[in-house]
C-alpha cells in the first residue's frame, strides 16, 4: 500500500478522503473508529435509561408484565431476530468486501443489508397494526378486551405496553437512520470512493448497524420471552 512518507511540508500525497487535520490515514482511521465507539457508548446509555426503568417495573409488577408479554407474537419476534442477525452478517461481509477492494460485492451486500432491514421494519409495523387492531396502544387506543382484564391488573399491562412501544419505536427509528446511512454508503460505493486504503466510513456504519442489532438481541427476550409461555 504505497503511501508517500509525509514530507516536511504538508503537501504529501494522501489517498482520497483524507482530512487535513490529521497527520496520516492511520490516525484518521483510528480517530473515526474511536469516535464511533464513543458515540455507541452514548447510545448504550440512551437505551440504558429505558432498559433500567423496564427492569425495575418488571420486578415490581411481574404478573402484569407477563400477561402483556403473552399478548406478543413470539413467532414474528423470532423471525425478526433472525432477519436482523442476517443483516448483521451481510453488513460484516460488506465491510470485508470494502477491505479487500471488491466494489461489486460491497454494493451487493450493502443492498442486501438494506433489504433485510426493510423486511424487519415491515414485520415490525405489521405487529404494530395488530396491536392497534386489538386496542393495545396505551394513550392512543387503549381498550383491551375482556379475557385479558380479569387475570392481570390493567395498570401494569398498560405500563408494559408503554415500554413495548417506547423501546421498539426507538429501535425502529434507529433502524430507519441506519437505512439512511446505508443508502449514502451505497451511493458512495457506487461512485467507487472506497479502496482498501480508505474504507473507514463503511466500517463505521457497520459498527452502528451491529449496535442496532445488539439492541434488538436484548429487546427480543426481555419483551417477548418473559411471558411464561408454558
Amino acid at each position: 500500500m504505497a503511501e508517500l512518507s509525509a514530507s516536511s511540508t504538508h503537501a504529501a500525497v494522501h489517498p482520497p478522503g483524507f482530512r487535513h487535520q490529521f497527520e496520516d490515514m492511520e490516525q484518521q482511521h483510528e480517530a473515526g473508529n474511536l469516535g464511533m465507539w464513543v458515540f455507541l457508548v452514548t447510545e448504550i446509555l440512551f437505551f440504558g435509561g429505558l432498559f433500567a426503568s423496564y427492569a425495575i417495573y418488571r420486578s415490581l409488577y411481574l404478573p402484569g408484565f407477563e400477561a402483556g408479554s403473552r399478548l406478543l407474537d413470539v413467532k414474528l419476534g423470532a423471525t425478526n431476530t433472525a432477519v436482523l442477525i442476517g443483516s448483521s452478517l451481510t453488513m460484516a461481509l460488506a465491510v470485508h468486501a470494502a477491505q479487500t477492494g471488491k466494489r461489486k460485492a460491497l454494493i451487493f451486500f450493502l443492498l442486501l443489508t438494506m433489504v433485510l432491514g426493510a423486511v424487519f421494519l415491515g414485520i415490525k409495523f405489521d405487529e404494530y397494526a395488530t396491536k392497534w387492531h386489538h386496542g393495545l396502544v396505551p394513550g392512543l387506543k387503549w381498550a383491551p378486551d375482556e379475557e385479558m382484564h380479569n387475570n392481570a391488573p390493567l395498570g401494569s399491562v398498560e405500563l408494559f405496553f408503554c415500554f413495548y412501544f417506547f423501546m421498539t419505536a426507538l429501535h425502529a427509528t434507529h433502524m430507519i437512520i441506519g437505512f439512511g446511512i446505508m443508502t449514502v454508503m451505497t451511493v458512495k460505493s457506487w461512485r467507487g470512493e472506497f479502496s482498501p486504503e480508505y474504507y473507514a466510513p463503511i466500517e463505521v456504519s457497520g459498527l452502528y448497524w451491529h449496535f442496532v442489532d445488539i439492541v434488538w438481541i436484548f429487546l427480543f427476550p426481555l419483551l417477548y420471552l418473559i411471558g411464561g409461555r408454558y
Binding site: H20, G35, V38, V41, S53, Y57, F166
Partner: protein, 543 residues
C-alpha cells in the same frame, strides 16, 4: 522547543480572523477557533437572558408579598433562569468556548478530530436555544428546571414540551462536543506530548467530556419520555397507572448531578492554568490534581441520591448515597490544597485573571464545604428545599464556574483577539463581582437555615430583611458582570496589540502568534519538556 515566533504585526499577517470574511465564512466554518467565537456570542446572549430573569426575581423578592409579578409569572421566571443558565450557559460555557479554542492548540493539532461535527454541535445548540426562546415568548414554562413529574407531565399548563425539546436537542450538542474532545485528546497529541505533559486544563476537559458522554444520553431519554407522557397522557412516571414519579427523579439526577461537575471541572482546569502562570510555578502535585479530575468524573455518577433524601427514597439507599457524597468531596479538597501550595515560593503577580482565580478558590471552598451539610442525612432533612440549597449551588456555579470562565476569557483574550484589555478596569470588575456575589448569596445561607423554602413568590415577613440584602447584592453583581462586556468589546478595536505571549506563560497555545493562523502550527511542534516548566534555568524562552 521550537524557536520563538517572530513578532510580525497581526494586521498584515493572515490569521484565522482575517483569513476570509462574510457571513458564509462564519456560518459554515469548520475552524475550531471560529466555532469557539460563534459559541462565545450565543452563550453571552443566553447568559444575559438568564441574568435578566435573575434580576427580575431578586427585584420581586424585595417585598414579602412580591413586588413585581404574579406568583404564576414568578414561577416562569425562576424556571427560565434555571433552564437557560444550566443548559445554555453553564454546561457549554468553558468546554464550548475555551475548550473549542484551546484543545487543538494545547494538544498541538491543526483542528479537532471531527470539524464538521463540531459545527453541527453549534447548530444543535442554536436550534435548542430557539426552541427554548420560543417557549419563553409563547407563554413560558413553570415546572422548575427539574421538570418533576407528575406536575410537569399532567398538571402543568405551560410550554413544557417546547422546553423539553430544546433541552433534548442542546444535550446532543454537549454529547458531540465531548466526543470531539475525547477523540482529539486521545489520538491527535503532538509527538512527545505524553499524558503527564498535558496542561491540567486538558485533563479537566477530558474528565468533563467523559461525564458529558456518559451522562447526557440519560437526560435525553428522560426528557424524551416526559414529552411523550405529556403528549399521550400516559407513561411510565404516571402514578395513576402505577408509574413511579421517583423513577423520574432517579433518571433525572443520574445526569443532573454529574452535570454540576460538567460545570465546575473545566473551571478547575482554567484555575490550574491561571495559578501556574501567575505564580510562575509548576502546579504543586500535578499528578494528584490530574487524578482528582478523573476521580471526580467517576465518583460524580455515584452520588445522585443526595437530592432525594426526603422524597421517599429508601433509607438504606440514602445511606449509600450519603457516604459516597462525602467521598466525592475529597478530590475537590485535594485540588484546593494543591492550588494553595502552588503559590508557595512562587513569584505572584496580580493581573485580572489571577484575581478571578483567587476569588474562585475562596468561593469554591465555601461552596464545596456547604455541600457537606447536604450530604449528611440529619441536616439535609432540614435544609433540603430551602434557600440553603440555592446558596450552596450558586457558590459553586456563580462563585466557581462563572469566575473561572471570566478568568479564562481574560487570560486567553490576547490569544483569541490579538488585543490586550485595560487591566485596571478588569481588576476593578473582578473585585465588584466578588463583593456583589458574597452580598447576594451569603444571606441566603441564613435564610435557608431559617427554613425559607425555595421557589417562593411570596414569603412570611420575618424573612424580608435577608431578602432585601440579597437583592441589594444582586444589583452590585449585575453591574459587575456588565463592566467586562464593555471593556472587552472596546478592546477588540482599541486595545493595545498583544504579542504571542503577553503573560510569559508556558503551553503550546502560546507558541503560536496571536491571533493564531487558521492551521494553528506551520508544522506540528515536538514537545520535549514537562508541563509548566517555568523554572528552566536557560532563559531561551522569552518574556
Amino acid at each position: 522547543m521550537s524557536t520563538a515566533v517572530m513578532e510580525t504585526p497581526a494586521a498584515s499577517r493572515v490569521h484565522y480572523l482575517n483569513a476570509n470574511y462574510g457571513i458564509k465564512s462564519w456560518l459554515f466554518t469548520t475552524d475550531h477557533k471560529r466555532i469557539a467565537l460563534l459559541y462565545l456570542g450565543s452563550i453571552t446572549f443566553m447568559f444575559f437572558i438568564g441574568g435578566s430573569a435573575a434580576t427580575l426575581i431578586r427585584l420581586h423578592l424585595i417585598e414579602p408579598t412580591g413586588a413585581l409579578v404574579q406568583p404564576a409569572t414568578y414561577n416562569k421566571l425562576f424556571t427560565i433562569h434555571g433552564v437557560v443558565m444550566v443548559f445554555f450557559f453553564l454546561i457549554p460555557s468553558i468546554p464550548a468556548v475555551l475548550g473549542n479554542f484551546l484543545v487543538p492548540l494545547m494538544v498541538g493539532a491543526r483542528d479537532l478530530a471531527f470539524p464538521k461535527i463540531n459545527l453541527l454541535s453549534w447548530y444543535l445548540y442554536i436550534i435548542g436555544a430557539l426552541f427554548t426562546l420560543y417557549a419563553i415568548l409563547s407563554g413560558g414554562v413553570d415546572t422548575g428546571w427539574t421538570f418533576y413529574t407528575p406536575y410537569s407531565s399532567t398538571f402543568a399548563h405551560s410550554q413544557v414540551i417546547a422546553t423539553a425539546l430544546g433541552v433534548f436537542i442542546v444535550g446532543f450538542s454537549s454529547i458531540l462536543t465531548g466526543l470531539n474532545f475525547i477523540v482529539t485528546i486521545h489520538k491527535m497529541r503532538a509527538p512527545g506530548l505524553t499524558w503527564f505533559r498535558l496542561p491540567l486544563f486538558i485533563w479537566a476537559i477530558y474528565a468533563t467530556s467523559i461525564i458529558q458522554i456518559l451522562g447526557t444520553p440519560v437526560l435525553a431519554i428522560t426528557i424524551f419520555l416526559l414529552a411523550l407522557e405529556r403528549l399521550l397522557h400516559v407513561g411510565i412516571f404516571d402514578p395513576a397507572i402505577g408509574g413511579d414519579p421517583i423513577l423520574f427523579q432517579h433518571l433525572f439526577w443520574f445526569y443532573s448531578h454529574p452535570a454540576v461537575y460538567i460545570m465546575i471541572l473545566p473551571g478547575m482546569g482554567v484555575i490550574s492554568e491561571l495559578i501556574a502562570c501567575f505564580s510562575r510555578k509548576r502546579v504543586f502535585g500535578y499528578a494528584m490534581v490530574a487524578y482528582s479530575s478523573m476521580a471526580i468524573a467517576v465518583l460524580s455518577f455515584l452520588v445522585w441520591g443526595h437530592h432525594m433524601f426526603v422524597t421517599g427514597q429508601s433509607v438504606y439507599a440514602g445511606l449509600i448515597f450519603s457516604v459516597l457524597s462525602f467521598m466525592v468531596a475529597i478530590p475537590s479538597a485535594i485540588k484546593v490544597f494543591n492550588w494553595t501550595a502552588t503559590l508557595y515560593k512562587g513569584s505572584i503577580s496580580y493581573e485580572a485573571p489571577m484575581l478571578y482565580a483567587l476569588g474562585f478558590i475562596g468561593l469554591f471552598t465555601m461552596g464545596g464545604l456547604t455541600g457537606l451539610f447536604l450530604a449528611s442525612l440529619a441536616v439535609d432533612v432540614h435544609l433540603t428545599g430551602t434557600y440553603f440549597i440555592v446558596a450552596h449551588f450558586h457558590y459553586i456555579m456563580v462563585g466557581g464556574a462563572v469566575m473561572a470562565y471570566l478568568g479564562g476569557i481574560h487570560f486567553w483574550w490576547p490569544k483569541i483577539t490579538g488585543r490586550l484589555y485595560p487591566d485596571g478596569w478588569a481588576r476593578f470588575a473582578a473585585l465588584i463581582i466578588f463583593v456583589g456575589f458574597n452580598l447576594t448569596f451569603f444571606p441566603q445561607f441564613v435564610l435557608g437555615y431559617l427554613g425559607m423554602p425555595r421557589r417562593y413568590a411570596v414569603y412570611p415577613a420575618e424573612f424580608q430583611v435577608l431578602n432585601v440584602m440579597s437583592s441589594a447584592g444582586a444589583s452590585i453583581l449585575g453591574i459587575g458582570y456588565l463592566i467586562p462586556l464593555i471593556y472587552l468589546i472596546w478592546s477588540i478595536r482599541y486595545g493595545p496589540v498583544a504579542g504571542p505571549n503577553p503573560w510569559g506563560a508556558k503551553g503550546l497555545e502560546w507558541e503560536t502568534p496571536s491571533p493564531p493562523p487558521t492551521e494553528n502550527f506551520e508544522e506540528i511542534p515536538v514537545v520535549t519538556e514537562e508541563a509548566y516548566a517555568y523554572a528552566e534555568p536557560e532563559d531561551g524562552s522569552h518574556g
